[in-house]
C-alpha cells in the first residue's frame, strides 16, 4: 500500500483531486458571495431603522421625522393573500389535470401556456391586470394588484403540483381504485395528500417569488400613504414603498426604504426557511 503511494501516477492523481476540490469550494463561495453581500449591505443600512414604531406607524408627510411602514406590511400581506386565494385552487387543479393527462392536445396546449405565462415579463402582467380590472372598475385596487401577483404565482404552482404528482407511484392510485374508491376521491384523498409537501413548497416558493415584485403593482395596487383594508381601493406594499421612497429626493425617506428592504428580505428569508421545514417534515416516503 505504502509503495503504491509513492508511484508518480498515483501521486499526481491525489494532487489533482485536491486541486479540484479547492477550485470547487472557491467557486461555490464566489456564487454565494453576492447574496452574502446583499444581506450584509441591507442589514447594515436597514437594521437601525427597525423598531416598534417603524413597524406599527403610518408614514408621515415629507418634512416630519419618523413614521412607519405598517400600511405597506399589511398591504403586502393582503396582496399575497388575494393572489394566493386565486392562484392556489386554479394552480392545483391545473397541475392535477396535467399530471393525470400526460398526453393529449389540451394538456400540451396547457403546458405551452404555462411555460409562456412563466416567461411573460412582470410589467406586462401588470398591464393585463390594469386593463382587466383597473380600467373596468375605474379604480386602482388591492384586488387588481392581487390578481396580477396571482397570475405570476400561477405557473410556479402549476409546475410544482404537476412535477410532484408525477413522481407519486402509480401503485398508490391502483391501491385506492382497487378498494372501490372513485377516481375523484382517489385524487383528493390519496394522490393530493401524498404530494402535499411538494405542493405546499411550490405555493411558498411562488409567494417568496412575488412578494418582492414591484412592476405588476405600479398601476394596479398603485400605492397609498394610508392604511387601507378595502380590497377595492389602492393599497401600499413593501416593494412599492421601497420604489417610491428610494427614488424620492428626501434622505429620511431613503432611510425608511432601507428599513422596508430589510423587512422584505427577512420575510423572503423566513419563507425560504419555512419551505425547508415543510419539505423535511411533510415529506411522504414511498
Amino acid at each position: 500500500m505504502k509503495d503504491n503511494m509513492k508511484e508518480p501516477s498515483i501521486r499526481r492523481r491525489i494532487i489533482c483531486d485536491k486541486v479540484f476540490k479547492i477550485i470547487i469550494i472557491l467557486l461555490t463561495f464566489c456564487s454565494i458571495l453576492p447574496m452574502l453581500f446583499i444581506l450584509f449591505f441591507i442589514t447594515s443600512k436597514g437594521i437601525f431603522v427597525i423598531n416598534w414604531r417603524f413597524l406599527t406607524q403610518l408614514p408621515k408627510p415629507v418634512g416630519e421625522i419618523g413614521g412607519g411602514i405598517s400600511n405597506a406590511i399589511i398591504g403586502t400581506l393582503m396582496l399575497i393573500g388575494i393572489g394566493t386565494a386565486f392562484s392556489v385552487p386554479v394552480g392545483i387543479l391545473a397541475g392535477i389535470f396535467l399530471s393525470e393527462n400526460r398526453k393529449g392536445k389540451l394538456a400540451s396546449l396547457t403546458r405551452l401556456c404555462v411555460e409562456t405565462l412563466q416567461g411573460v415579463p412582470s410589467i406586462v402582467i401588470g398591464i393585463i391586470a390594469y386593463i382587466w380590472l383597473v380600467v373596468s372598475m375605474r379604480s386602482f385596487s388591492a384586488l387588481s394588484g392581487g390578481v396580477a401577483l396571482g397570475l405570476m404565482m400561477l405557473p410556479v404552482i402549476i409546475t410544482a403540483t404537476e412535477q410532484t404528482l408525477k413522481l407519486i407511484p402509480g401503485s398508490l392510485k391502483e391501491a385506492s381504485l382497487a378498494l372501490g374508491v372513485s377516481y375523484p376521491r382517489t385524487i383528493l384523498k390519496v394522490i393530493l395528500p401524498a404530494g402535499v409537501s411538494g405542493i405546499v413548497t411550490g405555493i411558498l416558493l411562488s409567494i417568496a417569488r412575488v412578494s418582492g415584485e414591484t412592476a405588476p403593482l405600479l398601476f394596479t395596487a398603485f400605492g397609498s400613504p394610508f392604511m387601507n383594508l378595502n380590497i377595492l381601493k389602492p393599497i401600499n406594499s413593501l416593494p412599492l414603498m421601497i420604489f417610491n421612497y428610494a427614488t424620492s429626493p428626501y434622505p429620511e425617506w431613503h432611510t425608511l426604504a432601507w428599513g422596508a428592504s430589510f423587512v422584505l428580505i427577512i420575510l423572503v428569508l423566513g419563507l425560504n426557511f419555512f419551505i425547508k421545514v415543510v419539505t423535511k417534515r411533510w415529506k411522504v416516503q414511498f
Partner: protein, 252 residues
C-alpha cells in the same frame, strides 16, 4: 361438484389492436385457491385485472365476453361496486405511505366516505389484521406509519386492507414476487388459511408455489387458456402438451 363463485365466459381483451386474451372461459370454484400460471406476457395479469376492471385504467383497453360474480354481470355493474366485492393485492406491497397501519386497514371505508363508529372500526381493523396474521406483530404500533414495516409485513398489511372490505373474491397478482423466501412462505401459509372465508385467485409464475398452495390451476399461454383443472392432476398428468412442456421447464 364444486360451487362456482366467478364465471368467465368467452372473454377477450384488447389493448388497441393487440389481442391479449382470446376467448377465455373459466369457472372459479368457491372457497378454493385457483392458481393462474403462464410465462411472462401471456396475459395472466390482464385476466385478473379484467376481473375487477382495473384494466380500464389503460386508455385504449377494451373487452368482449362476460364475467359473472354470483350471477351478476360484472360489466353491467359500476366498477366501484365490483372492486368492493373483488379485492386485489399487487406485486409490490403498496400501503398508503401517509397513513398509519390502522388507517391503512380501514382505508377502504375512510376513502369511500363510509362512516363507522370507533368501536366498529376497531373491530374491523383487529379482525382484518388477525385474518392476515399480522395482528400480533403490529398491535402495539397501530398508529405508526405502514411504511416502517418489512416487505412481507407490508404485503400482509395490503392483504388485510383488501380483506377489511369483506370481499367475496381476492385477486393476488404475484403477491410474493418482491419478497424473500421466508416472507413468501409466511404469505403462502396465510393464503391457505384464508380460503375458508374467501375465494382466491393467485397469479404466479412460480410453479412450485402454484403446486404448494393451489387447489385448482389454470395454464394460460399466448392469451389462450390452455388447460384448467385440479392442481393435483395438472402437475402430475397434464393433458395438453404445452402445459407439460411449461411444467417441465421447456419454455417460460
Amino acid at each position: 361438484m364444486e360451487s362456482t363463485v366467478l364465471k368467465i365466459e368467452k372473454f377477450s381483451a384488447f389493448f388497441g389492436e393487440n389481442q391479449v386474451l382470446k376467448e377465455v372461459s373459466l369457472s372459479i370454484p368457491q372457497n378454493r385457491i385457483t392458481a393462474i400460471m403462464g410465462p411472462s406476457g401471456c396475459g395472466k395479469t390482464t385476466l385478473i385485472r379484467c376481473i375487477n376492471r382495473m384494466h380500464e385504467l389503460i386508455p385504449d383497453a377494451r373487452v368482449s365476453g362476460k364475467i359473472f360474480l354470483d350471477q351478476e354481470d360484472i360489466y353491467a355493474t359500476d366498477p366501484i361496486i365490483v372492486r368492493r366485492q373483488i379485492g386485489m393485492v399487487f406485486q409490490k406491497p403498496n400501503p398508503f405511505p401517509m397513513m398509519s397501519i390502522y388507517d391503512n386497514v380501514i382505508a377502504g371505508y375512510n376513502l369511500n366516505g363510509i362512516r363507522l363508529s370507533k368501536v366498529e372500526k376497531d373491530k374491523i381493523v383487529e379482525e382484518s389484521l388477525r385474518r392476515a396474521a399480522l395482528w400480533e406483530e403490529v398491535k402495539e404500533s397501530l398508529h405508526r406509519r405502514g411504511t416502517f414495516l418489512s416487505g412481507g409485513q407490508q404485503q400482509r398489511l395490503c392483504i388485510s386492507r383488501a380483506l377489511a372490505m369483506g370481499p367475496a373474491v381476492l385477486l393476488l397478482d404475484e403477491p410474493t414476487s418482491a419478497l424473500d423466501p421466508k416472507a413468501t412462505s409466511h404469505i403462502e401459509e396465510l393464503i391457505m388459511q384464508l380460503k375458508d372465508t374467501v375465494s382466491i385467485i393467485l397469479v404466479t409464475h412460480n410453479m412450485a408455489q402454484a403446486a404448494r398452495v393451489s387447489d385448482f390451476a389454470a395454464f394460460v399461454y399466448l392469451g389462450e387458456l390452455v388447460e384448467f383443472g385440479p392442481s393435483g392432476r395438472m402437475f402430475t398428468a397434464p393433458k395438453d402438451k404445452r402445459t407439460e412442456e411449461y411444467l417441465t421447464g421447456k419454455f417460460g
